[in-house]
């Protein structure tokens, strides 16, 4: 289709052991925009986890920042073929947010301000594998990169790390999100090159 050119954002380097198959290393931080950038005032921001019973667990921005904060250094891999190694984030572990949540569901749908959705199994959000991140490189996360806060699930392709995240919905069965319903893989493991159906 020629709209997104693999490798456009960086020099082709494939020899790093941190690079999954088919990925290029980039030093920049490309922005993949699917639409207008939502501008969310932290005073109006909230994050919710909604269970199968309809119970809603809710955090305001102030309550969210009062939770235990983690500093995370991790590699990220975009399905459009760029990878960025050793990125630095600060945020709240999903383990912390799920401490008070009771659910029998094994799947989740992340919902974002702006309407974006993406599905992630609950197991992939727990066990120190995922965060709601609000800082990148020691600075507040810019709106173009998903600020005030985005989901960070770095072991999956980065489209799963939903920008402008506003909540998680617990699901009994896996359902496709925005890109998964139009060609992208339901799980998205970069080490298995799970890019498309």
């Amino acid at each position: 289709m020629g709209i997104v050119s693999p490798g456009f954002f960086g020099r082709p380097r494939r020899d790093d052991p941190g690079l999954p198959p088919g990925q290029y290393l980039t030093e920049g931080f490309p922005v993949l925009s699917a639409g207008p950038t939502p501008r969310i005032d932290p005073d109006e921001w909230e994050f919710t986890i909604t269970t199968e019973t309809g119970q809603v667990h809710r955090w305001s921005w102030t309550e969210f920042l009062a939770l235990k904060q983690d500093d995370v250094s991790t590699d990220i891999h975009c399905v459009t073929s760029w990878s960025k190694l050793g990125t630095s984030w600060r945020g709240v572990s999903l383990d912390t947010l799920f401490e008070s949540v009771e659910s029998d569901c094994e799947f989740t749908m992340a919902h974002s301000y702006g309407g974006y959705t993406t599905n992630v199994p609950l197991d992939d959000l727990l066990g120190g594998k995922a965060w709601i991140a609000h800082e990148f490189d020691g600075e507040a996360l810019e709106p173009a990169h998903g600020g005030p806060a985005r989901l960070l699930v770095p072991h999956l392709y980065f489209w799963k790390s939903a920008k402008w995240v506003r909540g998680l919905e617990m699901l009994r069965q896996d359902e496709p999100g925005f890109w998964e319903s139009n060609g992208y893989h339901m799980y998205g493991d970069p080490w298995r090159e799970e890019r498309y159906w």
Partner: protein
Amino acid sequence: MTGDLDDLDYLDGNAAAGPLSEFFAIDVVSARGRCAHCGRTDALATARVYPNSHGLLLRCPGCTEILLRLVDAGDRVCLDLQGLSFVELRRH
């Protein structure tokens, strides 16, 4: 949707003509389409294309909702038209 309508990171709908030519025998961006969300009806060439995305997204210039999604999945191309409730092509 929530959004900043002054966001300028888009192209006009003519940028979708090439990728869509795999599906349509005619130059579909010259056709008029109706947004399933707000009802605005205009040439698809007036819609907004966001090029730095995981696929090609055509958004309504009125309400910014998605008219059309096209994903190039290598050996397949996937097209979602649920945001378009009507398309009119004029014969010349």
